[in-house]
């Protein structure tokens, strides 16, 4: 019998075109996703070298990063954003790449629309000029972010040069309590191993708590793998995966569906296969997580207090803790629960899927956004938006005083006009709390959609579990 292999080993080995061993391998790419910010220089490079896109039919483009989430009928106010979007339209036409443009019903954040259209499938190698490409690993694909030179390389060759990463199993033991979600599972991991804890590794998430997650939850977990420094994150496909994909616009259909499903079930880790590293996390013991600093590793439980830099493990940590607390305007020992927020952002490729909005709506329903708080909901895609409107979620949010916006990356990175003012404190469902990420001087606390909705209605960071008990009827 052949040696037992991990899911990662299988996907990697199935895609090696040449090389490998100790040298980097040339890997074949099954799906290349493209957006407006990291692609213009790549297309320009092709043009200058007189090269074509090798497999336009394996390439899909959308606009998301700097689109306005306001009224789409208005011309784009920012001239330079308009130029970048126009460049992608031109490049897509010239190189015959399919583009979901601003007025397409499929437009949305690249990591939301890939899965939603059924483009993302088990066993694939997927790349995109964006670090959160790790999201697609939720389907048992090997998916990772690349730089613009590599985007150009993939466009020209449909291949990517990669040195083989190591593997790490992240096993969640037990089931999380009600109110503790996928976002909390992954924040707890980053808190444990740090933002460089998985550098050079591909993570495979396993355990009961992962199996029980919806595809949306698995995508949230895989999405933030990069925040632990990992090259990618993966979850082996199962019935949940297949049920999600069945009937999607670009998923195999008819007789091809049966065959694909059979082939896909082989993308799992064999019994006895070894990982290079392992982490175990007790999911049952977790409370909702919240970041207190300026790196996703600076995470605590909502029941904790702001840490004292003096207690940090090393001098370098003491310095970065001090810097972070100063930036965040926080004092050591302050309880996290009760911190007043000015803004709430529900969105991003981490948490703007229909399931995330449904979850947040269970808290928002029948309540009001606290006075003085500006809260916005930015669906991940046009489809998510339409689905939410069909279910009446938009009304739950707007009745509660949330703004209901158009899809895009929005305040996840603040490239459009959705930004924090200096000193504003924000509960955000996005993935990065770096200095200035959501606007210069803005103070970001990363939380789950449930926790963000709770912060909006209470006007401060709170433990959503208490709030949930006060509202017995869950959203149907």
């Amino acid at each position: 019998m052949s040696r037992p292999r991990t899911l990662f080993d299988k996907v990697w080995e199935a895609h090696v075109v040449s090389g490998g061993g100790t040298a980097p391998a040339l890997l074949y790419v099954d799906l290349h996703l493209v957006h407006e910010v990291t692609s213009p220089q790549a297309f320009e490079g092709l043009r200058l070298a007189g090269r074509r896109v090798r497999r336009p039919e394996l390439t899909v483009a959308t606009v998301d990063h700097n689109v306005s989430t306001g009224d789409r009928r208005l011309p784009i106010a920012d001239e330079i954003s308009a130029r970048q979007i126009a460049a992608l339209v031109r490049n897509a036409r010239e190189f015959e790449v399919e583009l979901f443009d601003l007025d397409s019903p499929e437009q949305g954040i690249v990591h939301v629309i890939g899965p939603e259209l059924g483009l993302t499938q088990p066993g694939m190698v997927i790349v995109c000029g964006d670090s959160h490409t790790s999201t697609h690993g939720a389907f048992g694909a090997l998916a990772f972010g690349i730089g613009t030179s590599e985007v150009e390389h993939v466009l020209a060759t449909q291949c990517i040069v990669q040195s083989r990463p190591r593997t790490m199993e992240v096993r969640y033991e037990g089931m999380p309590a009600a109110g503790v979600t996928a976002k909390d599972l992954v924040l707890a991991l980053i808190r444990r191993i740090g933002t460089a804890g998985a550098t050079g590794h591909v993570l495979e998430y396993t355990g009961e708590a992962i199996r029980a997650l919806s595809m949306a939850g698995r995508m949230t977990v895989c999405n933030m793998s990069i925040e632990a420094g990992a090259r990618a994150g993966m979850v082996a496909p199962d019935e949940t995966t297949f049920a999600y994909l069945e009937g999607r616009a670009r998923a195999p259909a008819g007789s091809a569906w049966g065959r694909a499903r059979r082939d896909w079930s082989a993308w799992t880790t064999d019994t006895g296969a070894a990982y290079d590293a392992e982490v175990r996390i007790d999911a049952a013991a977790l409370a909702p997580q919240v970041t207190w600093g300026t790196s996703p590793g600076m995470t605590a439980e909502i029941t904790d207090r702001v840490p004292d830099p003096a207690d940090a493990p090393s001098e370098a940590d003491r310095q970065s803790y001090r810097r972070a607390l100063e930036y965040m305007g926080l004092r050591p020992g302050t309880p996290l629960e009760g911190l007043k927020v000015d803004r709430v952002f529900l969105g991003s490729c981490t948490n703007a899927r229909i399931e995330d909005l449904r979850e947040a709506a269970t808290v928002a329903r029948g309540r009001r956004v606290a006075s003085g708080v500006r809260a916005m909901v930015v669906p991940g895609s046009q489809r998510v938006k339409a689905q939410a409107e069909a279910e009446g979620l938009d009304r739950i949010f707007t009745d509660a005083g949330f703004e209901w916006r158009n899809p895009g990356c929005s305040m996840c990175l603040g490239m459009n006009d959705d930004i924090l003012a200096p000193g504003e404190r924000c509960a955000s469902t996005s993935n990065r709390n770096f200095e200035g990420r959501q606007g210069r001087g803005g103070r970001t606390h990363l939380v789950s959609p449930l926790m963000a909705a709770a912060a909006a209605v209470e006007g401060r960071l709170v433990d959503v579990r208490a709030l949930m008990q006060r509202q017995p009827a869950p959203y149907a």
Partner: protein, 203 residues
């Protein structure tokens, strides 16, 4: 791509941990559709105060840092977003090499694509180099990729690991696409095999 064989230059220390690419080049500068012109926005939020004037306390603004071509950085340098604008900005500003205890994966690769050499040395050694650079405006460091070695005029000498594939590319200033296209026959053969797998060929 500009080849990198060996480089001697002045250095500046920026020893904070986990410097992310949002700090290296804030997003408001990502809207250009060219590869050049990012140097003036490098570390923008740290380099300039809210009124746009240079912050004298920021490491790169100190007089001793003028003309530095080697950046001495902290662990996990370049984490966060995959934006290649970060190495473009560093190179455009004038840096030829970055020496740090560790780099984020994507950033490391992006540097190599742009002739900006990422060098991994233990934290204690980076600190020594930074201290010397700060103390002496005439201090020079040599980063030699051919020999995979960092030296200075004061007796410092350390070897650094660097994989052969990327080293060859950098030494020769090779275009990776051109290199891969030499394998066109293998790619085509793979595509014929792949057609038998259910991997994303859309209806």
């Amino acid at each position: 791509m500009q080849p990198f064989t060996s480089h001697t230059g002045r250095a500046v220390g920026l020893l904070r941990a986990n410097v992310d690419t949002d700090q290296i080049i804030p997003k408001q500068f990502l809207k250009r559709i060219e590869r050049t012109g990012f140097g003036s926005a490098l570390f923008y939020d740290w380099r300039y105060g809210p009124d746009g004037s240079p912050d004298p306390a920021f490491e790169l603004n100190r007089p001793a840092a003028a003309g530095a071509t080697i950046l001495l950085a902290g662990p996990n340098f370049g984490c966060g977003s995959s934006r290649e604008h970060a190495p473009w900005a560093l190179a455009d500003y004038g840096f030829r090499a970055i020496i740090a205890p560790s780099f984020a994966d994507i950033f490391f690769g992006n540097c190599c694509q742009n002739g900006l050499l990422p060098v991994v040395l233990p934290e204690a050694q980076v600190t020594v180099l930074a201290r010397r650079a700060e103390a002496d405006g005439e201090y020079r460091i040599t980063v030699d990729l051919t020999a995979r070695r960092v030296t200075d005029g004061e007796g410092f000498e350390a070897a650094f690991p660097f994989d052969d594939y990327r080293r060859d590319m950098l030494l020769q200033g090779l275009d990776e696409i051109g290199k891969t296209l030499l394998e066109a026959a293998r790619i085509a053969a793979f595509e014929r095999r792949r057609a038998a797998l259910a991997l994303g060929d859309r209806a």
